[in-house]
Amino acid sequence: MNEEIIIDVQDVNLWYGENHALHNITMPIANRKVTSLIGPSGCGKSTLIRCFNRMNDLVAGCRVSGNIYFHGENINGADADPVELRRKIGMVFQKPNPFPKSIYENIAYGPRIHGIKNKRELDEIVESCLQKAALWEEVKDRLHDSAMSLSGGQQQRLCIARTLAVNPDIILMDEPCSALDPIATSKIEDLIEDLKREYCVIIVTHSMSQASRVSDYTAFMYLGDLIEFGETRQIFENPRKELTENYITGRFG
């Protein structure tokens, strides 16, 4: 990999109590690229991306070993700040989860709790983030309407805009299109293509065609193991491992 490595995962293991959910995961994540995590349900994809912003800290009985370096700093180190980490590594979930507030407030909320009070500055952030999330033209005349009045696809783009508002480096997406129709899905995929100019995007998806369309790198996981990692073109044209081939061609899963 010739690109700048923004996250370096080294020999990561994770246990939920007695359940050994991730086994010796080692992989690089490139900056300003899209990396897809694919694999059957329960293989550890979501568990792995939750390690990147330490969301597993919130799970009782969860234990992690190994190292994850973000910009060269160990995110599990003694001086690491999970709150700051989650600001730099934002997350978008399977189901759109806007706050029950106005469209404007959904975006302004994060910057405000990080200390930005100036109205003009907040206005600029709201417009800029909605522009980046390709939502501005659709909502600019109703910024103070409830976010809950938006369609599912618009809500998901709002959640992406909300993530951008705190100026992250990485956007984690956990099956971001699984609740969306094909049109809304294609808008999110276009957005991912735009976002990677400025951000690193890591996406968990069950759609093989989505992984092949949007990502530069793909990791295939199975039963907590990283089976194969490589350029998406290589994984989908000529995977090196038979298990990968059998999964992506739908022979098991």
Partner: protein
């Protein structure tokens, strides 16, 4: 992968192989017709042109439909993509069988046949290459095509040798030019059929291994 998808892919492979067998028979019969001066057989080969096109379009359409419906990846994608190229190669081979048969009809109309032994040798060697390429494609096994580069080099050498010989004979006896010019055309068709065999071997290698190789 659904049972329907699996069965569709298998049927496409069977149809592509059948089309290959049909096209090779056109070439083989045209060479036989040339060897025996058999105008009737040459006529029969020419008659198969419409059926060749019909089979080509039917298999091609089933491949397009499979791509649209199933968006295959990895070895399934390689199989469809390679097969699309291979049926085109088969169609060219069948067409060249037709063209040789057409040339033979003109030959028998004008002056009769004269000592085409070397051309027959080239034709048999090319046929063997194409048959091995079809076997490899059918069985998804690249062993029969490992030496295709050497065999194609031999065809190229023989093609040039035959060409030089024909030109020399044309210079010696201008009355033979109408016949020998047609031999030159057949020589060229056969050499191009050898190239088609190499193309099939390249695509079969890609289909089986995922590696891109260049043979000719």
């Amino acid at each position: 992968m659904t049972e329907k998808e699996r069965s569709d892919l298998s049927q496409i492979h069977i149809d592509a192989c059948d089309m290959g067998t049909f096209a090779i028979a056109m070439l083989r019969d045209s060479i036989d017709a040339f060897e025996r001066g058999d105008a009737q057989l040459a006529h029969e080969v020419r008659e198969r042109k419409v059926e060749l096109k019909k089979r080509f379009i039917a298999v091609e359409e089933s491949m397009f439909r499979h791509l649209a419906l199933y968006q295959p990846v990895a070895r399934d994608m390689r199989e469809i993509v390679a097969s699309l190229r291979v049926i085109y190669n088969f169609e060219r081979i069948g067409r060249m069988g037709y063209d040789i048969a057409d040339t033979i009809q003109n030959l028998s109309q004008c002056c009769g046949l004269a000592d085409p032994e070397k051309l027959i040798i080239v034709g048999r060697k090319v046929l063997a290459m194409i048959e091995d390429a079809l076997d490899a494609f059918t069985d998804r096994a690249i062993t029969p095509i490992r030496n295709m580069r050497e065999r194609d080099s031999e065809i190229d050498r023989l093609y040039c040798e035959v060409m030089r010989d024909l030109i020399r004979r044309m210079e010696q006896n201008k009355d033979d030019v109408p016949i020998l010019a047609r031999y030159v055309i057949i020589d060229r068709y056969l050499e191009r059929c050898g190239d088609q065999a190499c193309n099939i071997a390249e695509m079969t290698t890609y289909m089986v291994t995922g590696e891109r190789v260049e043979i000719d």
